[in-house]
Structures are given as C-alpha cells and as structure tokens.
C-alpha cells in the first residue's frame, strides 16, 4: 500500500482522521506473505514424491516384493486420508474453506497414492481380471467422493479427467489445446456427449445448490469438451471420417455447435463471465470461418481468395465491436 498516496488524499480532505489512522496502522503492520511461495514448494514436493515413488516401485518390483510395496503404499495412502479425516471441517453442501494450507496437498497425495495402489494391484495381480474399466472406475468414485466430502476443486478436476479417460477420451488441458486427440467419429461423439453431461453437472450443482462453487470447474471442462468435439466433428468430415459413409455431416456438427454456443452465451451473461464470453466467441468464430472457407473453396476463383481475406478483416472488426459492447453490458464481472 502506498502511504504517500493516502497522505496526499488526506491533505486534499478526502479522508477522515479515523480512516487515516487505520491506513497508517495497516501500513505499519503490513506483513510479507509467503503463502504462494510455500504452496508452490508443497505442490512441487507432492509432485516429486508421487513421481519418485512411482518410478521407485516400478524399478524395484523384483527385489522388494509386491506385498511390501502394496502395504507401504496402502499405509501411506491411509495415513493421508486419516490426516484429512481428522482435520476436516464439518461437511456441508456449501463451500468449505480448507482448515490448513497443508490439508489440500495431503488430500491430493492421498488420492494419487490410491490411484497408484489400484493400478499396481491390477498390474500385478489382475484383481479385476479383464475388467479394465473397473480399475479406473473405483479410483473415479474415490476421487469424486473425496472432492465433495473434503471440498477440493483440484481433486474434482482429476475426477473429471479420469471420468473422461474411463470413457476413452483424453481431456487433460494440454490435450484439449492440441485438439482433443479426437480422431475418429466414435470418440468425437463420446466427447460431445461427455461435454453435455459435464455441463449438466454444472446446471444441477447450481440448481440444487449442492456445492455450487464447483460449477465453474464443470462448466469449464464441459464447454471446452463439447465445443472442441463439435469442431473436431466439422474438421474431420474432410478427412473421410464421416459418421456414415458418403454423407457429409459437417453441417450437422455446425448446427450442434451453434446451439451450444447460444446456450453458453446466455449462461455467460447470466454468470457475468467474460472468460466464457471470450472462449465461446472464439469457438463460434472459428466454426463460422471454417464454413465460410468451405463455401469459398467451392467457388474456385481468385476473387474467392480476396473475399476470404476481406471476410477475415471485416469479421474480426465485427467481433471486436461485439466484445466491446458486451463489456459495457456486463458490470461487476466475475470469473
């Protein structure tokens, strides 16, 4: 806080003596917070520990013996969950702040160890026989339960990506940015349905006021998955992955995407979210541009190329005007 600035304001007569004293006090007792530095160290520690243990177990399977490793992992995992259970605040369907900064990371470590445990169990003893789905489904249930019970958004994100993996789609943020690795029509349809489902989870959370603050996470994943699946559907119709042979379905995907965008726009205005406004605008822009280019390619003339360039210039200006107007419309933005 800049105390000289407030001195000046006080001399201009904008501040009462009481407030000036408060400001002086606050400036004198201001603390240097190491919050984010310590959190980063903790997070990296958890990352290194879970990664290191994973490799350690993998390399020493022959010498240590499976039982010892399993027991060790199970004990560590149980320890983590026991710590969380002891320190947690009472459960409610509202937002619960974490009791200690440490709590979040112990829970995360516990969940990761549990996934390792199950994977190891399946890998060594094939406990679930050939039901590979079960080996993913059990951690999924535990993740989802932990996310709600201990109120942890990071674990919820893990649960969503694991759910998608269970269905066979890789939706880690990096994979999403690279185009969802959706390269056949089955995965594209799965992705679209998954997106709708996750958005529905957001709607239900808000509607029934059950952990409504999880809504953003659901909405974020859901919107991206659905719209990217639609785009992938449109693009892939070029490369011969049509839903049924011989018919070009890209326009169907375009209609779906348009409907999704309309719904998301309404939602964005309702939640006063510029973030969603921007990403939905950009998805819609890419989709419309794609359709325009496909139509222009049909013309097969140099004029079409010029039209294409002019279209991009004009449409970008149009979208800027739209964003500026929306910015005026939404006051008091939230994320």
């Amino acid at each position: 806080m800049n105390i000289h600035l407030f001195d000046k304001l006080q001399r201009a007569g904008h501040l009462s003596p009481g407030s000036a004293d408060k400001l002086q006090n606050a400036a004198a007792t201001r603390l240097f917070s190491l919050h984010w530095e310590l959190k980063t160290i903790l997070y990296l520690g958890v990352l290194l520990l879970s990664g290191g243990l994973g490799i350690l177990v993998y390399k020493n399977i022959d010498t240590i013996g499976h039982q010892v490793i399993l027991v060790a992992i199970a004990a560590a995992c149980a320890g983590c969950f026991y710590y969380c259970y002891r320190h947690k605040k009472p459960f409610t369907w509202e937002k619960v702040s974490s009791p200690t900064p440490f709590f979040d990371y112990i829970l995360l470590l516990g969940c990761l160890l549990f996934i390792t445990f199950i994977t190891y169990l399946q890998g060594t003893y094939t406990v679930f026989a050939n039901h590979y789905g079960t080996a993913v489904f059990i951690p999924l249930v535990v993740l989802l339960f932990s996310a709600y019970y201990f109120d942890h958004i990071g674990v919820l994100s893990l649960a969503i990506t694991n759910f998608a993996a269970w269905l066979g789609v890789n939706i880690s943020p990096y994979a999403l940015m690279g185009g969802l690795s959706l390269n056949d029509s089955h995965l594209i349809r799965t992705g679209a349905l998954l997106g709708v489902g996750v958005c529905l989870a957001d709607f239900l959370s808000n509607h029934f006021h059950k952990k409504a603050h999880f809504g953003f996470t659901y909405r974020n994943f859901g919107t991206h998955i659905f719209l990217i699946a639609c785009l992938a559907g449109m693009f892939s119709s070029d490369f011969g992955f049509t839903i049924s042979e011989g018919i070009n379905y890209y326009f169907v995907w375009f209609i779906l995407l348009a409907a999704g965008c309309c719904w998301c726009f309404r939602d964005a205005f309702k939640h006063r979210s510029f973030y969603f406004l921007l990403i939905v605008s950009l998805y819609a822009y890419v989709a419309v541009s794609y359709v325009i280019i496909r139509l222009l390619i049909l013309v097969d003339d140099i004029g079409a190329v010029y039209t294409g360039f002019l279209y991009f210039i004009a449409s970008a200006i149009g979208l800027i005007v739209f964003l500026v107007k929306a910015n005026k419309k939404i006051k008091h933005a939230s994320l």
Binding site: L5, F32, S33, G52, F235, F312, L323
Partner: protein
C-alpha cells in the same frame, strides 16, 4: 515521453489503491465514492478476457490485411518490395496505436498492445528481408534493442523491455563470450533497475530486475560456462552454488519478492547442475527424498509462520483468489493425469491433428 496521459495514470493509481483499501475495510464507502468521483479515469481498459480477445482479433486483422496487400502485389514483387510493404505496415500499426491512445484513450485495451507488437515485428522482419538473410545477427539485435527501448519508454510495455534486454545481452555475448562480462553487465543493469524510481515504469523495472538476476546466474553457472566456453573452470562452482543462496538471503533480509522468487527458482537450477556432474543417488531416490524434504520444509515453515514472525506470514494477505484456485486445479489435472492411467486395449490416443489451432485448418 510516455504516450499515456500522466494525470490519468495518477488517477488510475489512486482509484486502484482506494478500492483496495475499501476492500480491506480501512476507509468508508462514502470516502471511497468521494475519492473516485474526484479522480475520474477516462481510459478505456476492458476486462482482462475482453482485452485478450481484442488482442487476438487485432492481430488477425493486421495479419490478413498484410496478406491481402501481399496478394495484390504478388505479381512482379521482389524481396525489397515486400520489405517495403512490411515497413509500411509497421509504420501504419504504430500510428494506429498512437491514435487509439491519443484520441480514444485506450490504455491496455488489447488493441494498443497488439498494434505495438505488430509494428515491432513488421519492422524487424523488414530489416531481415532487406538483408536477404545475410550475416546480420548483430544488426537485428541492434534493431530489436532500439525498438524495444523506444516502445518501453513510450508505452511502458513489459514485453518490449524484455526484448530490449535480450538484445543487449545478445550483443554483448556476440562480441565476447566471457562469463565475467555478462555477469558484470547483468549486475549493472540490476542495480540500475533497482534505482529506477519512476513510478510509471515500475513494471518495466521489475522485468529488468528479474531478467538480469537470471542472466547473472546463467552466466556464472558451471554447466553453461562449460558448454559455451568448452573449458572447465572450477571457480564457477562457487557462483553456481552461492548466487541462489545470496538471492534467497537478500530476498528474505530485505523482503524483496523478486530476489526471493529468483532465488527459489535458481536453487532448483543449482541442484540440477550439481546432479549433472556429481550424481549421488539415482533419479527416483533423489526425487523421493527431495519431495519429502520439500514437503517437510513447507510444513515446518507454514506451522512456524502461522502467527506472523518478523513481519512474515504464511497466510494469504489478498483474499481475492478465486482465479488462482481454478488455475491450480487445472495444473493439477494436467500434471497428475498420467498417474495410474491403466493400459487399455483398443484405445491409443496419439496427438491428434484435428486442427484446434483454428481457421487455418481450412487452407
């Protein structure tokens, strides 16, 4: 020198500080309203995400306009003609940015920064064009440094400052690869940036400080010295080990966040350097032990600083952390999503080429 109106910048600072103080309940609502009314801000600064959108779209407009002009003169055009076109676009973008700022009072609106960057990129590309890709690395570095310095002074732009800094270091390096020279230059720039007390250039000073701290370490790092000069000079082990610790010490002693964070990052660099030459334990053991050690250190410090000591606290001072929590959850989903992904028949996900990159998929 600054393109933006200084009175307006002052007002912006007052309003931001007032809102912060009001959030911490240090002043009353009436006082806040009175101060904001007395300090009107005419700048056009949209929400961050709108700014991002405007930035992208402005870049698209400039890019496609350039494409359109190139297309029109593609018949009989030469490298020089294209270079001339780039210079023309650079100038137009710059004038556009100046006009937006002067007439429309844009301030970090996305359009002004995009135009500045486009202008810089166009002019540098034009320079490369005129040189026909000849031996002109130093020339490019000079141009980048000059443009960066000018844009830093004119628009207080942080990326321009970083570009100018990179240009200077590159120039120095191209004349002499002596580590001592780079270290001395970095130290000089750091001290100069610390003494830069002009409040309009606070962020630029911070960028200079962080970057010069990093280059100061990099120039004295044993691994880098050995790779670059191809001789092993044991003296650089001293700087490899000591510099991060010195940063950390002064960061804590003077409560300087830039020093502290640089120190933390560089401790990791130090560990990697030592491990590269003197590996005591295999990787997984080192990872596990380091993980345990880091968790323990963080745990002890968090417990110790729960009640503030010597002006330090482990609690958060600003409450507004909704965005940070969401970002953290995304990082968790990304970094841990490979954990325990079971082998599954019939599902091989390669890095699909389904063009999430956008409209370019159509060509």
């Amino acid at each position: 020198m600054l393109a933006y109106n200084k009175t307006q910048l002052d007002h912006l600072e007052v309003v931001a500080a007032t809102e912060q103080a009001f959030k911490q309940q240090l002043i009353t609502a009436e006082e806040k309203d009175a101060i904001i009314a007395a300090h009107p801000v005419a700048f056009y600064t949209p929400n961050f995400f709108v700014r991002l959108g405007i930035f992208i779209l402005t870049a698209i407009i400039v890019g496609f306009s350039l494409g359109l002009f190139t297309l029109m003169m593609v018949h009989g055009g030469s490298d020089n003609a294209f270079g001339g076109l780039l210079v023309f676009f650079g100038v137009i973008s710059y004038v556009g940015a100046e006009l937006l700022i002067r007439e429309k009072h844009h301030y970090k609106s996305g359009a002004d920064d995009a135009l500045i960057y486009c202008s810089g990129i166009c002019i540098v590309s034009a320079f490369i064009m005129f040189n026909h890709g000849g031996d002109s690395e130093r020339g490019i570095a000079v141009i980048v440094t000059m443009l960066g310095a000018y844009f830093s002074l004119r628009f207080a732009d942080m990326l321009a400052t970083a570009a100018a800094f990179a240009g200077v270091i590159f120039l120095l390096f191209s004349f002499s690869s002596s580590p001592w020279l780079i270290m001395a230059a970095s130290l000089g720039i750091y001290l100069a940036a610390c003494n830069l007390k002009n409040k309009y250039y606070e962020n630029n000073a911070m960028v200079l400080q962080s970057l010069s701290l990093l280059t100061l370490y990099a120039a004295g790092n044993y691994f880098i010295v050995r790779e670059v000069t191809e001789q092993s000079q044991q003296i650089f082990w001293v700087s490899t080990v000591l510099i991060p610790l010195v940063y950390l010490f002064f960061g804590i002693y003077r409560k300087n966040r830039t020093l502290l964070r640089s120190g933390l990052v560089l401790v990791a660099a130090m560990v990697f350097t030592i491990r590269y030459y003197h590996s005591i334990a295999p990787l997984e053991v080192a990872m596990t032990l380091a993980g345990v050690a880091m968790i323990l250190i963080a745990y002890i410090l968090i417990r110790y600083l729960k009640t503030p000591k010597n002006g330090f606290t482990s609690e958060e001072v600003d409450e507004d952390q909704a965005a940070a929590v969401q970002l953290e959850s995304l990082i968790i989903a990304q970094t841990f999503n490979k954990v325990g992904a079971p082998p599954k028949d019939g599902f091989e996900f390669g890095g699909g080429d389904g063009g999430g990159g956008g409209a370019s998929g159509g060509y």
